[in-house]
Amino acid sequence: MRNRVIVFLYFFSVFISVNAQNKFTTKSGELNFEASVPSFVEVIAKNKNVSAILLDNGDFAILALVNGFRFKVALMEEHFNENYVESVKYPKTTFSGKILDFNVSDLSEKEITYTISGVITLHGVDRSLEVPVSIIQKNNSIVLTSNFVLKPEYFNIKIPKIVNNKIAEEINVSVSFNLTKLNSLDYE
């Protein structure tokens, strides 16, 4: 009887370790964007409180609170929230997708470039996105970075004519996440 219990426990523990999906998370990722035009005041916003969750099967989700973007010029921040992205109506922007051909065991201190594919939601509008991401593993954390270009018109964001020539048509977005391991068993 006792042996049976031990055998059962053994298989049970194997079963758990196979099924335990590793989660890598952060609540303080960075998402910056720049829409500067030469010879005008620079348009740069930084958000250092972006959440992200990566599962070891490559599923990846990001959530950035729109109010968390901080600009150099206070008035720019106000206009961004009130007129452009309407942060009261649409308080968050999200991304949900998958890193293609991702395998945690491939990661090392040497940078690997993957493709991430998913849907970005901003200003109540969904748009599919497929961009390259660079990933390295450092000690116990996974560092994921990416740069890509978005346009305000993709998300039905209208830039008033009066400032049209001071804001670039193409917005350079850069993201950086330092994800640390969180076991799903002690997550709930």
Binding site: N49, I53, N67
Partner: protein, 125 residues
């Protein structure tokens, strides 16, 4: 003489207008540290507000939150497992499970972690 006076007026008006428009365009950022908090609640109460309404009145407002430190990082403190407060400077002199009161700007609800986020935090006590 009359012509010179006219010119002087014009120059003065231009100076005044540019002074005010400069001040308007480059107005200072809000100083959360010195703003009076709109509400003073526990971590759980603030989370509850966002569960009821996606954009409650406290969004983008200065709030004061108190509770137990459930998570501690170099630049952030989580209160009661429900409010994540980020600091511009490094967090010092506090420990896990301390009772704490924090003032900051409420930036919204994060459904990935089921928490409310606050930035530009300062420790009140």
């Amino acid at each position: 003489m009359n012509k010179r006076r006219k010119l002087l007026y014009i120059v003065i008006v231009i100076i005044i207008v540019s002074y005010f428009s400069y001040n308007y365009i480059y107005q200072d950022h809000r100083d959360i540290k010195t703003e009076t908090a709109k509400v003073e609640v526990t971590g759980a109460e603030l989370l509850e507000m966002f569960k009821e309404n996606e954009s409650p009145g406290v969004l983008n407002s200065t709030v004061q939150v108190f509770g137990i430190i459930s998570e501690l990082d170099s630049h952030s403190i989580t209160i009661d497992g429900s409010v994540h407060c980020s600091f511009d400077e490094e967090v010092q002199g506090v420990n896990l499970n301390d009772l704490i009161k924090i003032k900051g700007r409420c930036i919204g609800y994060d459904y990935l972690f089921d928490i409310v986020k606050i930035d530009q935090s300062t420790i009140i006590k």
